[in-house]
């Protein structure tokens, strides 16, 4: 439960501060950016981040992000988290 998924921030949230939209494996999801946002949030747009349970926890360079994605695919770790992304984060 401690492995994050790389995603790319593509827009800030229009209404909620500290939130942005990230693209992860072609899916879009709202993430909290409070823990990676030391300066202007606009500077994060286009950046890759490591996302864990809905929060960006670390900035990554693109090469590293793509390598991490490949490693996660190889480990078969991606499906569960991406499935939760698809379900909107909650499962009854």
């Amino acid at each position: 439960m401690c492995i994050g998924i790389p995603g790319q921030i593509f827009a800030l949230h229009a209404k909620q501060a500290d939130h942005a939209w990230a693209e992860v494996c072609g899916l879009r999801r709202e993430v909290n950016i409070a823990l990676v946002c030391e300066d202007e949030p606009e500077a994060l747009v286009g950046c890759w981040v490591l996302i864990h349970v809905g929060f960006a926890l670390s900035r990554l360079d693109e090469r590293e992000a793509r390598q991490t994605l490949a490693a996660l695919h190889a480990m078969g770790e991606l499906e569960t988290d991406v499935a939760l992304f698809l379900r909107g984060g909650e499962e009854r």
Partner: protein, 389 residues
């Protein structure tokens, strides 16, 4: 070299392994008394089995699977407390999926849900906040667990709940701090760990400095490692070099993700919301001093134990299982008499089998056939020992 061709860069893996075999051969360790390297992170354990890293190591080196899976160190009584809280009709109980099937003395959260409790699997604590906003007449409780990777996430969620003045959101705080856990492990008698692979994503939050006591007080080398196979091989090589040079320090193999200082924003949020508060009991490890994490007074109103006062339910580990011994490296998963019979991923008896990151689940998934064969003489041997006693 089986498995190596599946690596992202097989040639690099082969080069690392050649160096590893060469250097390990110079160490005063043998196949019978190998250098024992504890990988602390459940993600590392998973990668070791998935990619057969344990089989690629020289015989003088051995992986010991440590307590890096927060679900695995959760005592049964805490699950019983979760079920008690969830049984309140006004409660919506939210949990990460990892904890749903962990057995308590009176069953798991999945079984409580079948009995009618409103228990929901969420991806993020923020999903719990959303549920609280959408259900003002209900009490939403988030089961907050995990090491330092998830603590700041809970902290920021509570900061947001406080800003919004939400009064129907609370957490059952079962976070655990890695450093007291490692200290406890190293302080126990007859635990022989020679070196550590430290978890990359916990370290991404904490930075490298909190590990220094492992070098300074216990004389063990440590390398912070990423979780892909090449990361781990490189980290093991760094450890073997340290041992060969009689060096003992904290090194950071995962520099591309782990800043030396960690995530300062996360550390600040954790300091504001959490405090270390006395001893706490953890499955397989017993009582660990200064490992209990609770909310600071400014956030005490989000503590579910204040709202519902669940009964403290200390439950001793079942003596038939050897979870604690596996967690501390005293035995291998297949050496537990319940492994693969009374305890399987489909019908888990111990927590190490429940979580996919647990050592027993990984061993079962990747080594079951070999383990079945290997466990037969071991099992007979154990029976003989108990008869002799």
């Amino acid at each position: 070299m089986r498995f190596v061709d599946e690596f992202r860069d097989p040639q690099l893996a082969k080069t690392l392994l050649e160096q590893l075999h060469q250097r390990a051969g110079l160490l005063p360790y043998t196949a019978d008394k190998p250098l024992q390297i504890m990988e602390v992170c459940g993600g590392h354990t998973h990668a070791i089995f998935k990619f057969g890293l344990d089989k690629l190591l020289p015989p003088q080196l051995e992986f010991i699977h440590g307590p890096g899976c927060p679900v695995c160190v959760l005592p049964m009584g805490r699950i019983d407390a979760c079920c008690e809280i969830a049984a309140h009709p006004e409660v919506i109980f939210c949990t990460f999926g990892d904890a749903l099937r962990v057995p308590g003395q009176h069953g798991s959260l999945a079984q409580a849900r079948e009995r009618g409790a409103d228990i929901r699997v969420v991806y993020s604590p923020l999903d719990g906040l959303r549920l609280a906003r959408e259900n003002p007449a209900r009490q939403v409780v988030f089961f907050a667990l995990g090491f330092e990777t998830t603590q700041p996430v809970t902290a920021v969620t509570l900061q947001q709940a406080r800003r919004e003045r939400l009064t129907n959101f609370s957490i059952f705080c079962q976070h655990i701090s890695l450093m007291p856990t490692l200290r406890s492990l190293l302080s126990q008698d007859d635990v022989r760990i020679d070196a550590f692979l430290a978890p990359g994503h916990v370290s991404m939050i904490t930075g490298a400095a909190p590990y220094h006591f492992i070098n300074q007080e216990f004389g063990k080398p440590l390398v912070i490692s990423g979780f892909e196979p090449l990361d781990m091989l490189q980290s093991v090589l760094m450890l073997v070099k340290q041992v060969g040079e009689a060096s003992c320090k904290t090194e950071n193999q995962y520099r591309r993700v782990v800043p030396e200082q960690g995530n300062l924003l996360a550390q600040k949020a954790m300091r504001e919301v959490f405090t270390l508060s006395g001893s706490s009991e953890w499955r397989g490890l017993g009582m660990i001093e200064r490992s209990g994490i609770s909310l600071t007074s400014a956030y005490a109103m989000f503590d579910v134990e204040r709202r519902f006062s669940p009964q403290a339910q200390p439950v001793a580990d079942d003596p038939r299982s050897r979870c604690g011994e596996v967690l501390t490296g005293r035995c291998k998963p297949h050496q537990c008499p319940l492994f693969g019979t009374g305890c399987t991923p489909h019908n888990a008896f111990g927590a190490l089998m429940v979580s996919s990151e647990g050592a027993c689940a990984a061993w079962y998934q990747y080594r079951h056939q070999e383990a079945t064969i290997a466990s037969q003489p071991q099992h007979k041997q154990q029976q003989k020992v108990s008869q002799d006693e």
